[in-house]
């Protein structure tokens, strides 16, 4: 699946998007897998209460099932308008 990062999440991880193979069943399991990889992921995901997640372009939450999802995006709360 494709993972997209925006705003300071993108800056901390250092790339805007990547494709990963994962066995994770939920968003939280995926986040924990990523955090094991490198410190930059730990830095980006250290406080999940400061983050939002979208599954296939719809806002979701960290407990959500990711089976069949093609695109996951992580970002801070939006600041449009």
């Amino acid at each position: 699946m494709d993972i997209l990062y925006f705003a300071w999440v993108r800056e901390r991880i250092g790339i805007p998007r990547e494709t990963v193979e994962t066995q994770a069943r939920t968003v939280l399991e995926l986040v924990n897998e990523l955090k094991q990889r490198e410190p930059r992921y730990e830095a980006a995901f250290s406080d999940l209460s400061a983050l939002k997640v979208a599954l296939d372009q719809s806002l979701s939450d960290f407990d959500a099932d990711i089976d069949g999802v093609c695109e996951i995006a992580f970002f801070p709360p939006m600041t449009g308008g």
């Binding site: 997209l4 705003a7 995006a73 709360p77 600041t79 308008g81």
Partner: protein, 150 residues
């Protein structure tokens, strides 16, 4: 409805005329324009707006459709800029067209509340003293509750 996300500047007056001319038999239009505000220290060099292109337009269209349905609007226009802006630039505008003013006012207010907290835009301020991402305002999230219908 008309939903536009663009890099280039727009003319709010011209957009209002265009919006008005395409309406038939309405009694009210309300418009809101958001403008790039300088920092208190007056050192803002640019405001950079990032977005999630695959999600932005669908989110805005969904909000516009909800407003049209809930307030029986004739039409909605949402224009939002992305990229690099400078102080005094218009960032975005919302226009609502209805038979009567109350529906036009309330729906514009609703659209702005949702646009602030649910549309995937992020602002970064570049100043002569460095750069920082604008934090979401906790009150903006709380104001969404007033639109809940049960």
């Amino acid at each position: 409805m008309r939903v536009v996300v663009q890099d280039s500047p727009f003319d709010a007056g011209h957009e209002l005329e265009f919006f008005r001319n395409r309406q038939d038999n309405i009694g009210a239009i309300v418009t809101f324009s958001g403008i790039v505000r300088d920092t208190p220290a007056k050192d803002l060099e640019a405001l950079v707006i990032e977005h999630y292109p695959e999600m932005t337009e669908s989110t805005l269209k969904d909000m516009a459709a909800q407003a049209i349905d809930r307030w029986s609007l004739n039409d909605v226009c949402i224009i939002h800029r992305v990229g690099r802006l400078v102080p005094r630039d218009p960032i975005m505008m919302v226009a609502t067209a209805a038979a009567h003013r109350r529906a036009a006012f309330e729906s514009a207010d609703f659209l702005m509340d949702y646009l602030k907290s649910r549309a995937p835009f992020w602002k970064k301020e570049l100043t002569s003293n460095g750069s920082s991402w604008v934090s979401a305002n906790a009150e903006d999230e709380a104001t969404l509750n007033r639109w809940q219908t049960n």
